[in-house]
Amino acid sequence: MMISREELRDSARKGLGSDGLAPDPVASWDRLVDMGWFALAVPEELGGLGLGAEALAAVHVELGRALVPGAAIAQMAAIEVLCAAPDFADRAALIPAAVAGERIGLSLDAPGRPATGCVIDADQVRQLLLVSPQRIALAPVLGATMVPTWDETRRLGDVAIGAETVIAAGDAARGLYDLATTRVLLALAADAVGGAAAALAMTVDYLKTRRQFDRPLALFQALKHRVADCQIALVAAEALLWSRAAAPLTVAMAGALKARATTMFRDVAEEAVQLHGGIGLTAEHPCHLFLKRAFLDAALAGDADHWNAVAGQSALALVQPAS
């Protein structure tokens, strides 16, 4: 990509840095618009930056790190699908509007989830892009019922939709489905890597500061080894993320990455709460926000059970059993 991972990271941190953890939903959506991130994957001929998966991942790592609320993952994937559907006439107006922040929901065919359920920020979405391997369609959102969610940084809702406009079917739909799915899975993996990095850093800082039995907790070897284990898992998941972002990606590969990264985030966030001790159990400390985001990341767009099975089946299918 023309803009490096590091440049995106630095610009994201600069942009988000002053807002603190889990910033205001409206203000941070505006900030994403202002920073031009919804144009990240839009081709240059359509007025965008024409960046690819690596840029996408770099941005979502930072959004995860700061626990930024909202539906940026869905918005960016929806925009990318529209950009890849040249025969859809309405996109000429839709893309610039979406880049400017008008919300498009994304409904990805995923296990255990109705097409109109679990839409992030459902009550603010004007249109819903329905994505399945057989068919891509756009529908107006007529109303939404928000459901309380454990993750306090993402608001889920069920929507009622109007008449659907089909954008693609057959092979074209399959291609767009693969695009949307790999992008969403990659973005969720990136979110998990960023979230885990922040949760771990917060925990290490806490252990260095907090004293018990006349010494900082960071001096207890058993705790040191546990944060070292978190670090190993985090760095390995991050390496896999960048390696996957740099090369063409199948749905199964993206799923395996998402399973690995979100499981790692869960593990790190679980350790973060335990290692924070009592303070980690109070809603006044941000520790639990990571835990809850980790669990929602793990459940969104197919969980580890689903994607690990897909990865296993896909690896088994490649091998002829020995005679």
Binding site: L156, R211, F213, A222, Q274, L281, T282, D303, D305
Partner: protein
Amino acid sequence: MAHPTDVSTTALAGLRADLRAWLAVNRPADWRACATHAEFAASQRDWFRKLVEAGYAIPHWPAEWPGGGRSLAEQKVIYEELARADAPRLLLSFVSTYHAFATLHECGNAEQKARYLPGILRGETWCQGFSEPGAGSDLAAVRTRAERRGDVYAVNGQKVWSTMAQYADRCLLLARTASEGAKQAGLTYFLLDMTAPGVTVRPIHQIQGDEEFAEIFLDNVEIPVTERIGAEGDGWAVAQATLSSERGLTLMELGYRMRGALDRLAALIGETGRTGDAGVQRDFGALTGQVDAVCALADQFLDRRMTGQEQVGDASVVKNAYSRALRAYAALGVRLGGIAAQRREPITYGDLNSGNWMADFMNSYAWTIAGGSEEIQRNIIAERMLGMPREPKGWTAP
């Protein structure tokens, strides 16, 4: 405390039958429906009153108290049946009937006993003021100051992680009266009236939405000298009496409750269409084995107590085994529940295995962190059961 008399099997069976019949009529069916923690506290008061009237609330008290004088074997039967009937756990009265009772009974003077023990049966509730923001698992590091001023002590400081302190009438308070010498030697034990001027209680908002714990702020609170238990500097020893007042019954009861609640997981497996998933079958089967092992362990622990064979560290093993199984139970529920489990449902107060999987999962941390974290328990097991050396006291940061 209770006299471990040799109760015949017939007598135990009789107790069991009586209690079972009583529970069939009197068990509150709607205790899981409380919409607020305050409502739950009220339902706890009702339930405690019923148990006192029926003679099942204080089986471990001496025989001169109505419903007291039960052997450990009888107490076990009572808790087994409460778990079996899925009756509410006794949360609000727990500190009163175990911790406050044991402290007063073993270390209180005649006046103090006469003043407070009958009140407990009338429903006066106590909380425990031990933990502090800076102390955590290191009790000797208590910093709340009590300064003698004539006939009173003036107390200043802050307590935290006090179970249901916002509903408590009185508090078992550990405070520092001297800062020289060994840290333990400077502690003194008080009985605090929670309505005294200068006492402020703030419930702690827990991550799953409960308010089971509270902070207590003490701002120049005056405690009469007559409300001191033991002498100045005896606080550490008195606190040991408080802490050792309940050992094993709770974990046995909770183990049985978890075993009963495996049905919720089984139902979830059915609802999500995974009955035929070989991996889920194995994981669920392994969990049932883990829960069965916790129950066996808790039973064995109680049996050993009854026969005087309890050893140092035994309690830590049971607690750790329980807390892990509890976490594993909730984690399997969260996993199987998928995206549906991420919808926030109203929590159930007082239940650790509610089937509200995310809430159960977060609630399980109360067992891995509070009352001596898993890390502290592991130290105890390694050092006191396995005889590995303790880290020298002088070890500090370079």
